[in-house]
Amino acid sequence: MAELSSFTIDGLKCMAREGTSIIDAARQNSRYIPTLCNLEGVPPKGACRICSVRVNGKLMTACTTKLSPGMEIENDTSELNDLRKAIIEMLFVEGNHFCPSCEKSGECELQALAYRYKMEVPRYPYFFPKRPIDASHPRIVKDHNRCILCKRCVRAVKDEKGRSIFAFLDRGFETRIYVDPDLAGQLTEERARKAVEVCPVGAIMPRDEAFKTPIGQRMYDKKPIGSDV
């Protein structure tokens, strides 16, 4: 077991074991660093950059950076929070995020982050890309309009033989999630539910249910994301 090391977050003294990710180290000290593509139990990817912090003055992603002794971490600063807000805004304009008609609304991590950072309107122009909805699978619907390419489904959902059901297809602006039709056809109910749960937005939805939780009782209706830290 590694030694406890001291470090600071926004000038406050903290302690955690060396080698833990900065995200976890911060959480252990009740400091919230926002995450979006990060998923507990799955190796971090550093894809969304929402968790960017300044470590000794340098921008790093807190999910992929391991703690070392004496780190001076900046987290809850106006500069970093605006940077995070800008990333959220880019994600909103890049896809088609119609919150009023989305089944995930109220439970969506992207939306919850937009609430937390008080996004009134994105500073960037809307793209309105033309993207399809893939409703060809028996248990799940893949809506490419809402996908933010966090790769959580690719990383976390495998079948019983360890094969990937989801994968990246194409590159750049054309990048999208490919759903293997054979493996998706054989998805057990449990794995289909997991695929829905790991998706931070409404891009993977179950086929037969929607709008189950009334407005006012959904996960982020009353408390901002990160309130549990």
């Binding site: 909103f92 088609n96 119609f98 919150c99 009023p100 008609s101 989305c102 609304s105 109220g106 939306q111 937009a114 609430y115 008080k118 009134e120 309107v121 994105p122 122009p125 809307y126 309105f128 890309p129 033309k130 993207r131 407005i215 209706d221 009353k222 408390k223 901002p224």
Partner: protein
């Protein structure tokens, strides 16, 4: 001192935001003490009769007529507010943005299940009195400068009340978490 003057309009919206404004309940009586209303569907004043302090815009721009009304509001209102998701990002009308105008019209008037057997002359409405559909739906701030944005579908009555009273009393807007929502 003269009371601040408010004007409102619904462009490509469903009037839900206006309904939400009425949802401030009995405080509507306080509001009419605080402000005068000019051009608005609430009082049915059709043309501007005075310069206004606050313009509330519901809905985005889906027709050339919406652009005309929005520009008129920009010219007559000191402060212009995007009220609701449609004004802010196009909202549900913007779901047509990936589809061509011709395809939309053909679906609505020629091919849709409720019109297929009834539009015998295969006519698309094209009277010159009718406003023309834009190539896509535009958020208001992509057409004119908007000063404030109140999200929600519709924005919570409390959010509208807080924002309006803050503006009228020249205070900073407090946007409480519980009512700052996109749905």
């Amino acid at each position: 001192m003269q009371k601040p003057v408010i004007a409102t309009a619904s462009l490509a919206g469903c009037f839900g935001c206006h309904m939400s404004l009425l949802d401030i309940d009995e405080r509507i009586l306080d509001l009419i003490e605080l402000v005068d209303f000019n051009k608005s569907p609430i009082n049915d004043i059709k043309e501007f009769t005075a310069e206004c302090d606050i313009g509330l815009i519901e809905g985005g721009c889906c027709l050339d007529e919406n652009v005309h009304v929005l520009r008129e509001f920009r010219n007559h209102c000191r402060i212009l507010i995007s009220m609701g998701e449609c004004a802010i990002m196009g909202g549900l009308p913007a779901m047509r943005n990936g589809i061509s105008v011709r395809e939309c019209l053909e679906e609505a008037y020629l091919n849709g299940p409720s019109v297929r057997n009834y539009n015998e002359g295969k006519v698309l409405p094209n009277d010159e009195e009718l406003p023309v559909l834009l190539n896509r739906v535009y958020p208001c701030h992509e057409v004119v400068k908007m000063d404030y944005f109140l999200p929600g579908c519709p924005p919570d009555a409390e959010l509208l009340w807080q924002a309006l009273t803050a503006l009228i009393h020249n205070k900073e807007m407090d946007l409480p978490y519980e009512v700052f929502k996109f749905d």
